[in-house]
Symmetry: C2
DNA sequence: TCGGCATGTTTACAGTGGAAACATTATGGC
DNA sequence: GCCATAATGTTTCCACTGTAAACATGCCGA
């Protein structure tokens, strides 16, 4: 009973400590492993068993923390949205807000899709049909968008239309980049975004 | 030797005729069955075996016509792009070309995604990495886009940017609709597209 | 007529997601 | 401090998947 904290059985790499029956925080470890696997190696389906192996636990153990594979993927997707939101917020601040910030936010969106293709795809592909709609990790991102529209285009007549326009534009660019329909080219993205949202710095 | 045409063994529903060893045109039948399965019932992964069952043939028979499952999906995806192109061309003509036609083309794009979600997704998700790049079924659609930009916006300074902008915009709307991020609303789509491509009829 | 080639079938295998039953550990009420 | 009970992991099993290999069948040209 030396260390009594609640993560006794986790090794530094997230693997279960040898001989330990209980893991400590399997759920978190699984999510971490999933993200790692997603980050490196775009191809290759993310398998339940492979994930369990990474963490050093039996395959069915995961079912104590997720009702099924879908739920696990949902958790990963949510984390993806959270990261996207964070990156956008960061870009916004770094550019000092305003219309420049707005543009930076859009570019960050597309860059994220380019840098983390599998995660981006997963995050948006997940059908958010009958899940709890409120607590979605994408909230942050969307709120930032609305705020950005308001601040960057004060004179716009219909903010809803403008917001949707901006979102669709970057989302479309992101998907096209990600599906290799077009090449990733930050300058180009900047120009495209600038086309609608006028003479933005 | 009553009927000597090359589809002797196909029943009207695409199934193999009872007792016939050779199918007649399995490849086409499989693709048709795949499309049917894709059209009805968005959910549920499209399985090789299920498809073979539909056509009334053993699972491994498909390997005489497609190197692997991926290739089969590629064929379906290509058909999807072809249909999209056809619908856009039709919309363009119906609207009488020009800027009105351009807008109609964009709306048709999003509508297609809404009407055939699985097919649309499949069509664009397929990594066209090392496949034959030239003979893609999406050529039609893209050429139409470029032509449309030229005709609808004669005074535009950078046609490349404008074309990409238009494509990304509708593609983004399509993906957002398809992933249930936003609801399908033709009027809204019209407004959004109109925002950039000015006072279009 | 016959021989080869295209096309199907059967069988087999490794891998998958998931259900059940069982084992082990942590915890809260006495 | 003791112990029932809930939480968490493990084993075993099942149906299903994509695909390779070997075999069967039918068509078409020499």
């Amino acid at each position: 009973m030396a260390d009594k904290d609640n993560s006794v059985n986790i090794n530094s790499d997230g693997t279960k400590a040898a001989g330990a029956y209980h893991h400590g925080d399997l759920r978190a470890a699984v999510i971490a492993a999933g993200l790692k696997r997603i980050e490196e190696g775009e191809g290759g389906e993310l398998g339940l068993r492979a994930l369990a192996r990474d963490v050093g636990v039996s395959a069915t153990a995961l079912y104590r923390h997720f009702p099924d594979k879908e739920a696990l993927l949902d958790a990963l997707a949510d984390e993806g949205l959270r990261r996207l939101g964070a990156l956008q917020a960061q870009a916004w601040l770094k550019a000092g807000g305003g219309s420049a910030g707005f543009k930076a936010t859009g570019i960050a969106y597309v860059r994220f899709a380019h840098d983390e293709p599998a995660l981006f795809r997963l995050s948006f592909t997940r059908q958010m049909s009958e899940r709890k709609e409120g607590e979605d990790g994408g909230e942050v991102a969307y709120n930032l968008l609305r705020a950005g529209v308001g601040e960057a285009l004060p004179g716009v007549k219909d903010p809803d239309v403008a917001a949707l326009h901006a979102w669709a534009l970057v989302h479309g660019l992101a998907m096209l980049v990600l599906d290799r329909r077009i090449a990733w080219d930050e300058a180009m993205v900047g120009k495209v975004v600038g086309l609608t949202f006028g003479g933005i710095a």
